[in-house]
C-alpha cells in the first residue's frame, strides 16, 4: 500500500518550494528592496529572525542529543540520535541557504574565512556555523556510508565519532551563546525585558530547552507520517529532562530580571510586557507544567502538542529579541512581505524533502528503513492502476510521485511569478516648473490632497518663509518634498494625529465632537474625516486639475512664476504704455556689471510718446 499521508505532505512541500523558487528569481534580479519589506530602520527581518536565529536554535537538538547519548551514555535515547543529527545538519544547511538570500552581496558569503574581525560576534557565529556544518557532515557520514560498499570509510568515521561529537558540542556551545552576544551591542534597540548582559548564557540554556522539544516534536511527527508506533519510552524520558531544563531556564531568566530590577516591567501593561508574558507562557511555563504531568507523558498526542508549543515559544523568543522588541526604539512598523514568508517556508520545505529522502534511503532508523523498502518493493511489483477520471496512468511509486511533484512545483512557480511584486523602478523624479497647484497627487494610487499655498506661507512666517521650500541654488540640491515636514506621509497610520486634533478642538472636552456620546468611547461611532475636511479630501474629478508634483520648485522658478505672467499681461496693455514691463531688466536692475552686460543684449523698447 502506498502511504497517502507522505504523498500529500510531500506534495505540499514541493508546492511551497516552487513558490520560493519564483521569489528567489525576483530577489536576485531586483534586490532586497523588491523582495522584502525591510527598511533602513528595520534592516533585519524574518529571514534573520526566523531562518538564522530560529534555525540555529531549532537545530540545537543535534548537540543536546549527542551529549545525552554519547557523553552521558543514556542508551535508551539512541534511536533519537541519528534523526537529531540529520535534522541539525539540515537546519544549519537551511541557515546557510537563508543567508544566501538575506545577505546583500551573497557571493561574498565566504569572506569571513579570509577577512577577520575577532571583535564581531557575527564573525564568531560565521566561523562556528561553518565548522559545525563540517562536523555535522562528519557525524552524519556513518549513517550515509553504512550500507554502501565503502566499508573502510564507514569504519573510519564510526571510530572518529566520539571526538567529533565532543567537538560538535564545543562549537555549539559557542555559537548558540554568540547569537545572544549579537544583541549585546544594542541596548538602545532591544527592549529591556529581552536585553541583559547575560544574553549569551540565556540563549545557550534556551537552545538546550528548544533542542529537546524539537527532537520530541520531530520524532512524533515522523512516526505519525510513517504510521509507526511512537517511541513513548524515549519521549517521556526526554519530556522529563526537558521539564528540568525549562525550569532551570525559567529560574535563570527570573533571577536575571530581578538582578537588573526589571521584574516590574513584566507587568507594566505595555504591549512589550504582554508579548513577553505570552512568550514565557508558551515557551516555558505551560510546557513545564504539562511535561511534569504523567498523563501527558503517556500520550503521544499531548507530547506532540506540548513540544510544538514550546518550539513555537522559543522561536518567538528569537524573533522578539532580534526584531519585534526593537520596535520600541525604532517606532517603525515592519511586517514581512509574503515573499519573505515564501522563502522562509520554502527553505524549511526543502529541508523537509531532503530529510524524507535520506530517511527513506539511508539507515537513519534501520527498522524504519526496512519497512519503507518493503513497501516500495510491493508497490513497484503491483499491477498498474489508472487515475479515476483522466484514465491517465502516471506510473507507480517514484515515477508517479515525480510527475505529480514536478507538476506542483512548476504550477507554484507560475503562481509565484504572477503574484511577484514588480520592482519599483528608481526613477529620478524631475523637478517641475512652478504652478499654482491646488490639488496634488501623492503616491501612485488615486490619492490626492488639497495643497493650500497661502496657509503654508502664513504658518511658516509669511514672505520670509519662501526659501524653506523653494531653494535649489546649487547643483544637487533637491526640491523640498511634502514629506520633509509631514514626516508620516509614507506611513498611513501616522497621517492622523489624535493629539493634534484634541488640542485644536478644545482638550478633553472635545471627545464627543468626533466620537459622539456613545459609551465606551471607541472607533465604531467615530465621525468620518471627510465630515470636517471635505475640501482637503477632494478626490479626482473632471473639473479640478490635478498636478503630479511632489517637491517644491526652485526659488527662482517660484518668483518668476508669481511675477512674470502678470508683468507680461500688463506689458501688452496699451493703456498702461509700459512695453518693457515684461523684460528682465524691469526687475533685475540692481546695477551689477554682469547684469548690465546681460541687459545690453536686450535693449529696451522706447516708450511711445503720449498719444493725443
Amino acid at each position: 500500500m502506498e502511504n497517502r499521508r507522505i504523498f500529500v505532505f510531500k506534495g505540499i512541500l514541493w508546492f511551497i518550494c516552487g513558490l520560493a523558487a519564483a521569489v528567489a528569481i525576483l530577489r536576485y534580479a531586483f534586490g532586497l528592496g523588491a523582495a522584502t519589506a525591510l527598511s533602513d530602520t528595520t534592516p533585519w527581518g524574518l529571514w534573520v529572525g526566523f531562518d538564522v536565529m530560529g534555525g540555529v536554535a531549532l537545530a540545537a537538538g543535534g548537540f543536546v542529543i549527542a551529549a545525552i547519548v554519547h557523553i552521558f551514555q543514556k542508551e535508551r535515547y539512541h534511536a533519537a540520535a541519528r534523526p537529531a543529527i540529520l535534522t541539525a545538519f539540515l537546519g544549519y544547511g537551511a541557515v546557510a541557504v537563508g543567508l544566501l538570500f538575506d545577505l546583500g552581496l551573497p557571493w561574498h558569503i565566504w569572506h569571513p574565512i579570509i577577512f577577520w574581525n575577532i571583535h564581531s560576534a557575527l564573525f564568531e557565529v560565521a566561523w562556528c556555523v561553518m565548522l559545525y556544518l563540517t562536523v555535522l557532515a562528519l557525524e552524519l557520514a556513518p549513517t550515509i556510508l553504512e550500507r554502501t560498499p565503502f566499508q573502510r570509510a564507514y569504519r573510519f568515521f564510526s571510530r572518529l565519532a566520539l571526538p567529533i561529537m565532543i567537538l560538535g558540542i564545543m562549537l555549539s556551545t559557542l555559537h548558540q551563546s554568540s547569537l545572544g552576544s549579537l544583541l549585546l551591542i544594542m541596548p538602545f534597540r532591544v527592549y529591556p525585558l529581552w536585553y541583559s548582559h547575560l544574553l549569551p548564557e540565556l540563549f545557550f540554556v534556551s537552545a538546550i530547552c528548544l533542542g529537546l522539544s524539537m527532537v520530541m516534536f520531530e520524532s512524533s511527527i515522523t512516526s505519525w507520517l510513517y504510521r509507526r508506533k511512537p517511541e513513548l519510552d524515549m519521549l517521556s524520558g526526554l519530556a522529563k529532562i526537558a521539564a528540568w531544563a525549562l525550569s532551570f531556564y525559567l529560574a535563570f531568566k527570573l533571577v536575571d530580571l530581578f538582578a537588573q530590577h526589571k521584574l516590574g516591567l513584566m507587568f507594566a501593561g505595555t504591549w512589550e510586557s504582554k508579548l513577553f508574558l505570552f512568550e514565557m507562557l508558551i515557551s516555558t511555563v505551560l510546557p513545564i507544567i504539562l511535561y511534569s504531568l504523567p498523563a501527558v507523558r503517556r500520550s503521544p498526542t499531548a507530547l506532540w502538542l506540548t513540544s510544538l508549543t514550546s518550539v513555537l515559544g522559543f522561536v518567538l523568543n528569537r524573533i522578539d529579541a532580534s526584531g519585534i522588541s526593537q520596535v520600541w526604539a525604532t517606532r517603525s512598523f515592519y511586517f514581512p512581505a509574503w515573499t519573505e514568508f515564501a522563502i522562509s517556508l520554502g527553505i524549511v520545505s526543502a529541508c523537509g524533502l531532503v530529510f524524507f529522502f535520506i530517511q527513506e534511503h539511508f539507515p537513519v532508523d534501520p527498522h524504519e528503513l526496512e519497512t519503507i523498502e518493503r513497501e516500495r518493493a510491493t508497490v513497484e511489483k503491483s499491477t498498474p492502476r489508472f487515475a479515476p477520471f483522466t484514465q491517465v496512468w502516471l506510473g507507480e511509486g517514484w515515477r508517479k510521485s515525480l510527475r505529480v511533484y514536478s507538476l506542483l512545483f512548476v504550477l507554484a512557480m507560475a503562481v509565484g511569478l504572477t503574484l511577484a511584486p514588480k520592482s519599483e523602478p528608481a526613477v529620478d523624479r524631475p523637478i517641475q516648473r512652478a504652478r499654482g497647484a491646488d490639488i496634488l497627487r501623492v503616491g501612485d494610487g488615486p490619492r490626492y490632497v488639497y495643497f493650500d499655498h497661502k496657509r503654508h506661507q502664513d504658518d511658516n512666517g509669511g514672505k520670509q518663509s519662501c526659501v524653506l521650500c523653494h531653494h535649489l541654488h546649487m547643483a544637487g540640491d533637491v526640491g523640498t518634498p511634502c514629506s520633509e515636514c509631514h514626516r508620516g506621509l509614507y506611513t498611513p497610520t501616522n497621517i492622523f494625529s489624535h493629539d493634534r486634533h484634541v488640542a485644536r478642538l478644545g482638550g478633553d472636552a472635545s471627545c464627543v465632537k468626533c466620537h459622539g456620546k456613545r459609551r465606551p468611547v471607541d472607533l465604531a461611532a467615530v465621525k468620518k474625516c471627510s465630515g470636517c475636511h471635505e475640501k482637503d479630501m477632494m478626490t479626482k474629478n473632471p473639473v479640478v486639475k490635478v498636478f503630479d508634483v511632489r517637491t517644491a520648485c526652485s526659488y527662482k522658478d517660484a518668483m518668476h512664476k508669481m511675477c512674470i505672467p502678470c508683468h507680461a499681461k500688463k506689458a501688452s496693455d496699451p493703456k498702461l504704455n509700459k512695453p518693457n514691463l515684461g523684460r528682465c531688466g524691469a526687475c533685475h536692475n540692481s546695477g551689477t556689471e554682469s547684469e548690465k552686460i546681460y541687459l545690453a543684449a536686450f535693449p529696451p523698447q522706447p516708450e511711445e510718446a503720449a498719444r493725443p
Binding site: 552581496l105 564581531s120 560576534a121 551563546s177 544637487g476 533637491v478
Partner: protein, 270 residues
C-alpha cells in the same frame, strides 16, 4: 592630512539652507533625488544617496545629521569581515569589495547612520566618510560640507581645536547655549561634535536614553573574550564526564547487574 579630524556644528548658527547637502552630493557623485523612502521607515532625511541632512526642529532650529565617526565605532566592531574601518587618522570608511551585506552595522549604530541601497541588486552600505579620500589626497583641505556652509555653522579642525572652540563658545554665551558638547563623551566620544540651544538627544535611537559614556564595543567584547576559555572548558568538561561515566560503567560491568547496563540490554532486546 591632520590627525583626528573633527567637525564641530554650532546648531544656533545653522539656517537650514542645505548647501552642505548639495556639496556632499556633488563631491561624492550622489544622485540629486533617489528612490522615495521605503514604507515603514521613519525618515530623518538620511538615505543611501543623502549622507548628511538638515533636520528641521520647531522655532527655527536646524540640526545637521551625519555620521558621527565615533572614537570607538560600534559599526566597525560589529562588521564580521571588517568592511567598515576606522582609518589611522580617524574617519570611518567603507569598502564594498569586502562587505557581505549582512547589515549588522545598521543595527549596531546607535545613531542610525548607515543606510542601504534597497533598490539595487548589488547594494552597498552608504554613509558619510568625512571626504576621507579627498582629504587624504590633499585635493581638499576640509570636507565639502564645511566649505559649503555660508554661515560657518559647521567647522573643521583637530579634535583638540574643536573642543577648545566649543568650550570657548559655551563660556562666551552661557545663557544662549546648553552647557554641553554633544559627542564629547557619549559612547566614548565622537569626531562630530555639536553645541546647541536645544537638546540633541533625538539624534540617537530612543532619545539616547540607553547610551552612556562607555564605548559600545566593550559590551560585546566582555562576552567574546571568554570564547576561547568556554571552548576549551566545554571540551574538557565533556571529555571528563565521558571518562567518568565510562569508568563507572566498566567497574559496574564487573558486577552482575547495574541499572544502566541492564536497561541498555533490554533496549537492544526489543
Amino acid at each position: 592630512m591632520i590627525q583626528n579630524p573633527t567637525i564641530l556644528t554650532d546648531v544656533t548658527k545653522c539656517i537650514g539652507c542645505e548647501q552642505c547637502v548639495a556639496a556632499c552630493k556633488k563631491i561624492n557623485h550622489l544622485p540629486a533625488q533617489g528612490p522615495p523612502p521605503r514604507p515603514g521607515s521613519t525618515p530623518d532625511g538620511l538615505s543611501a544617496d543623502r549622507w548628511t541632512t538638515v533636520i528641521r526642529k520647531p522655532h527655527n532650529h536646524f540640526v545637521r545629521k551625519q555620521c558621527r565617526h565615533c572614537e570607538q565605532p560600534a559599526c566597525v566592531s560589529v562588521c564580521p569581515v571588517g568592511a567598515l574601518q576606522k582609518t589611522p587618522e580617524g574617519p570611518v570608511i567603507y569598502d564594498k569589495s569586502i562587505c557581505m551585506g549582512c547589515r549588522y552595522c545598521m543595527l549596531g549604530c546607535p545613531f542610525g547612520i548607515p543606510h542601504y541601497e534597497w533598490t539595487s541588486a548589488a547594494p552597498s552600505v552608504r554613509k558619510c566618510i568625512m571626504c576621507y579620500p579627498h582629504l587624504k589626497s590633499g585635493e581638499v583641505k576640509e570636507p565639502a560640507c564645511v566649505t559649503a556652509c555660508p554661515t560657518k555653522a559647521t567647522l573643521f579642525g583637530t579634535r583638540e581645536e574643536m573642543l577648545a572652540e566649543a568650550h570657548k563658545r559655551l563660556a562666551a554665551e552661557p545663557k544662549k547655549y546648553i552647557q554641553r558638547i554633544w559627542g564629547e563623551k557619549i559612547v566614548g566620544g565622537t569626531s562630530v561634535l555639536y553645541i546647541a540651544d536645544i537638546s540633541l538627544d533625538f539624534l540617537g535611537w530612543n532619545d539616547s536614553k540607553e547610551l552612556s559614556d562607555e564605548p559600545l564595543p566593550r559590551k560585546t567584547w566582555a562576552a567574546l573574550k571568554m570564547v576561547p576559555f568556554e571552548f576549551v572548558g566545554m571540551g574538557a568538561l565533556m571529555g571528563a564526564i565521558y571518562w567518568i561515566i565510562e569508568r563507572r560503567r566498566a567497574l559496574a560491568g564487573q558486577h552482575s547487574d547495574s541499572t544502566d547496563a541492564g536497561r541498555e540490554e533490554r533496549g537492544h532486546g526489543k
